[in-house]
């Protein structure tokens, strides 16, 4: 064996093309819409729906195991996120926030699942839509509570003397209405993108080193051990990013509901 | 005669030098907060607003470094 390259079909170093897998179906042409990513999205949605439906098929006062797990997840979303951040009115949002948390977690989890190993959230479109949904939510809640001009006054006018206000209002506008959804989406996207890229670099680097020179096999083994370590780190990052997204959405809703300072 | 020359982007060298100060500064702010909380945990809530004020003033200089690197680059 002369250490031939292309043990894998992928090149090293990994490029952005890794994030655009080929179409799984004969249709789509040059812009395939049904790829592994779409399949993973559908699988995640189906898994969540089926799990919660099955868990609540025969609810009992003394819960069975599956029911207990489902109730724990919802309890975490309701007590740990909704009422903790928003207060008593948070109960209205508990189901949306829990669904958001479980959805992001299930999609992120594909990043370390064997055979899939890429998360749909590493395409910017998916976190962007979720962030836009959160943006619409907290703006709508604010407008419904305070009225349109009341909400704008509440959100845009800081407590400051009147002559400094023209300096401050564009800053507040950019910060509240533009940077919030942007930072929500980019935080989730960048974490998933970077995690996938790291795993790719360490895995493919191991193979590339072997195909360059057989004497590099110890380095390749270290590289693959590091891949395993980074997979565990990625697991932490997955849960943390889902939690941070949901907590920040809840905190923005709380800010929109807050009374005048 | 030319002894040495630097080609390429001097904005990036400027930014690298500009990032030293705020890096140390932010570290000092948070280290003070951590130490004061370790000495007297109930003061953590009282001193937290000053953490954000200090962080903002120091980080503003770091953000100037990034911004002026782009605005004033040749």
């Amino acid at each position: 064996m002369t250490g031939q390259p292309s043990i894998l079909a992928a090149n090293f170093p990994p490029s952005v093309d890794e994030f655009f897998p080929p179409s799984l179906a004969p249709w789509g042409g040059s812009n395939p819409w049904f790829t592994r990513i779409t399949l993973m999205l559908w699988l995640a949605t189906a898994a969540i729906i089926i799990f919660f439906l099955v868990a609540y098929r025969n609810p009992k006062m003394v819960p069975s195991k599956v029911q207990w797990i489902a109730e724990s997840i919802y309890g975490f979303g309701r007590n740990g996120i909704a009422t903790e951040m928003i207060g008593h009115e948070g109960l209205r949002f508990a189901s949306y926030l829990t669904t958001l948390f479980v959805f992001i977690l299930a999609n992120n989890f594909f990043a370390i699942l064997p055979f899939f190993q890429i998360s749909p959230n590493s395409h910017y479109a998916f976190p962007l839509v979720l962030a836009v949904l959160s943006w619409i939510l907290f703006n709508y809640i604010g407008i419904r509570k305070h009225g349109f001009f009341g909400y704008l006054k509440n959100a845009l006018v800081p407590p400051a003397p009147w002559y400094i206000l023209p300096l401050l209002i564009p800053i507040e506008f950019l910060s509240t209405f533009l940077i919030r959804p942007f930072s929500l989406s980019v935080r989730l996207f960048a974490n998933m993108f970077a995690g996938h890229m790291l795993l790719l670099v360490f895995t493919l680097g191991g193979f590339a080193m072997i195909s360059a020179n057989l004497g590099f096999i110890p380095f390749s083994i270290v590289s693959w051990l590091l891949t395993i370590a980074i997979t565990f780190l990625e697991f932490l990052v997955i849960i943390l990013q889902a939690y941070v997204f949901t907590v920040l959405t809840a905190s923005y809703v709380q800010g929109a509901l807050a009374e005048e300072h | 005669m030319l002894l040495a020359a630097v080609n390429g982007s001097t904005a990036i060298i400027g930014y690298g030098l500009a990032a030293i100060g705020p890096g140390i500064g932010v570290g000092l702010v948070f280290s003070a907060y951590i130490q004061s909380t370790a000495r007297q945990p109930e003061s953590s809530r009282l001193t937290l607003p000053y953490v954000w004020i200090g962080f903002a003033v120091v980080e503003a200089l770091a953000l100037f470094g990034i911004a002026f690197g782009f605005i004033w680059a040749k």
Binding site: I171, S251 | A56, I71
Partner: protein, 76 residues
Amino acid sequence: MTGHSPSEPPRDENDRVPSTNQGMTALSYLIAGIAVWGFIGWLVDRWLGTGGIAAGIGAVLGAAGGVYLIVRRLGA
């Protein structure tokens, strides 16, 4: 976890030290300030034809505005 009721009164966000919410707010005010007023300064630059100084003044003003907002909203 399922047996818990919210046992303590809901506290405001300033209490929760590990939360990153205040840090993100502070950073976003700073970046927004520099971006908005730097951009307006750059437009003034193009209008008046000055070298780059108006953008710099705008950025400094914006940073000052951002710091003022942070002091007002997150400060004691």
